[in-house]
Symmetry: C2
Subunit: 401 residues, 2 copies
């Protein structure tokens, strides 16, 4: 069932939510306190269970029907006026920080400083605030809403939680609104997909004089980099192809026994990703074949192993889609100027599956994300929550007002 | 004054030395004991002074006139029958092992196991045995002999000690006989020259999506490797060109800020080294220019720094040269079959300066050089000393017999 948002719905819906906005403003300090509490529960990618349990407990406390799925996602459902395809409100649990990181939050002037305080304790606290506002009684939606706290959004997680949900239990979702970090202006409707490889060339290795003629894994690695450097990569749809690491050789005296190349491919177009991925594979094979053809007769050939170390689907929700226009309009309604953009977030997964999705900030200002000096400042943070509430209620439909 | 060795000199000289050979055989155990003592004095490249002092003390004890030069070489002179250009007998002091290596020597069956026991405690002990045999009284030579214990022969030393000596005080040498490691068959008359570079490409680095378009140092590094891989390198004169290391990039998320390439060029022909060195420099510049030409408008260019990290001159003493034929003949006279060959030793320096030189083993068998499991076995080790004595006496001329 397609998501239906009529042209005037956003302004009308926003007007209906005036009381909720007043309560959100009144509860602003409590929201920030909850954000700090959640941020101080370590949640490295792959180790999200403690934070997940804290989120589940809070979801139950506001009357959601809560499940924890097989990968550790926490899903809390608020029933709708009818048993329709749900709208998913999603925030990721995990942070980029290793388990032993000091996650205590310090107040420095107007700033809260802490690893993960914005990305994504802000998103999680914002999601819980929406679950309180949409209480199913004073404010009730037409569609059910699934509040989804995902695991594995950050780098090595590779959107594992969102993939598990939207491919499985959540495959019938009508729309998804992702809350990721602070801010109240950006509307991410294009999903930067990515594919990443670790390529290892291996050979016998040996002395660079007495064993000269052996194939050199670094020659193959270098050929990969130099061929990729001249491969045409489109600006539109925006795409990027980077050789991000090469490591090989221990000593200037020796032909190395192996060489590693890490390659990062990104695009807002899944078609471009598929096409360039085929080129990457072909170039690796050419580099291998060329170096083996050059080796001295009778020496063992190089081998190659290509490991996929990242795979995030790309795509976009059209900027003319009602969900995107509603998000842009809601941004204006809270007094901000919308900035449509592209990023890699949990929204990649529903977008790639044809489910309309946007990723938006959960209010306030922040910086130094992915560093231990990450900070958050609650400058009109309630505006971001108000914007999100309007977007979610547009998508899910308000009933009984 | 050119070295003069007449066709029959080797056999004649060898015959004159029968008494010395008998004494060398009788003193065989003492020579090995001295080899162990020297091996147990740590002498990493750049930290040879303790071992150098031990060698100097032994040189003085056998009546040589000893000097330690500005770089730490120990030179002990045995006067000749006339004040002519000297013959240099040379052995390197240093080992490849870092200062904290356990240098104790263990006996395991017929083997002595210890870091540096062969390379080059054997050469040093052999050189001292020659200095005892050529005592200036019972055995006296026409030319003076400079017994030279050098610093900085191994990798990072880059033949520093030999360069200092033969370019300076030793520039008038008539010939040089280098004792390096065990063995009594090989005669190294071709000097494998080498030149080594560390090339660093540096750029701003940045996020592989938001900063895409920045020049990538790994693309330049890869281009260097792939261009060098197809550069014609001659088999004759034997030569080798190896990209031995590439290191760049910290994360698959980023365009790296720098990339390092280490290149090793070797040849027995100094002319080939000079020619290929010019090619290497040109290729580095092409790789830099190409990547900078590809970068996005307005982004800062890559820079490159090329550091020379090794420079060993190459060349050869012709296999028809009297010193080489004398060394081959002396090998036969001790009952072994000579193997003429190429290597990189202290002999590179005199050879490149036009001073006839050979490098030979100092007797016995060995293996696992440049590892902590290096071993030496005194199987007829005195033969190697006897061979060296004949070669040195051919070059210096025996007087009074």
């Amino acid at each position: 069932m397609t998501l239906a948002i009529a042209p005037n719905d956003t302004a009308r819906t926003h007007a209906l939510l005036q009381g909720e906005r007043a309560r959100l403003a009144a509860d602003d300090a409590a929201l920030v306190a909850e954000q700090v509490t959640l941020s101080e529960i370590a949640a490295p990618t792959g180790g999200e269970s403690a934070r997940g349990a804290a989120v589940a407990e809070r979801m139950r406390a506001v009357g959601l029907e809560v499940q924890v799925d097989a990968v550790g996602n926490v899903i809390g459902r608020r029933a709708g006026g009818r048993d329709a395809e749900p709208v998913v409100v999603c925030a990721h649990l995990d942070t980029v920080f290793p388990p032993d990181t000091d996650v205590r939050v310090q107040r420095e002037g107007t700033r809260l400083v802490g690893a993960g305080i914005g990305d994504n304790a802000r998103g999680l606290a914002g999601m819980l605030a929406l679950a309180r506002a949409i209480d199913g009684q004073a404010l009730r939606t037409d569609r059910p809403i699934d509040f989804l706290a995902t695991v594995g959004e950050e780098a090595l997680g590779d959107l594992r939680g969102a993939k598990h949900h939207f491919v499985g239990a959540g495959r019938d979702a009508a729309a998804a609104v992702i809350l990721d970090g602070p801010g109240e202006e950006r509307v991410i409707h294009r999903a930067v997909g990515s594919r990443r490889w670790r390529v290892r060339f291996a050979g016998p290795g040996g002395h660079s004089w007495s064993a000269y003629g052996l194939p050199n894994p670094l020659n193959a690695a270098g050929a990969v980099a130099s061929m990729l450097a001249v491969l045409p990569v489109p600006n539109e749809p925006r795409s990027a192809l980077t050789v991000a690491r090469i490591v090989g050789g221990l000593s200037v005296n020796a032909i190395p026994g192996d060489a590693l190349v890490e390659i990062d491919l990104r695009s807002v177009s899944q078609e471009v990703i598929e096409r360039l991925a085929r080129e990457v594979r072909a170039i690796v094979d050419v580099a291998l074949g060329d170096e083996n053809a050059r080796r001295a007769r009778g020496t063992p050939p190089l081998t190659v192993r290509v490991e996929l170390i990242g795979d995030r689907p790309g795509g976009e929700t059209a900027d003319s889609h009602p969900l995107v226009t509603a998000a842009a309009e809601a941004t204006r309604l809270v007094g901000r100027e919308p900035e449509l953009g592209a990023a890699s977030t949990d929204a990649n997964v529903p977008i790639s599956l044809g489910i309309p999705a946007v990723a938006i900030g959960a209010g306030g200002r922040g910086g130094a994300a992915h560093t231990p000096q990450e900070w958050f400042e609650n400058a009109d943070g309630a505006l971001g929550i108000a914007r999100a509430l309007t977007v979610v209620c547009c998508a899910a439909g308000v009933v009984g007002r």
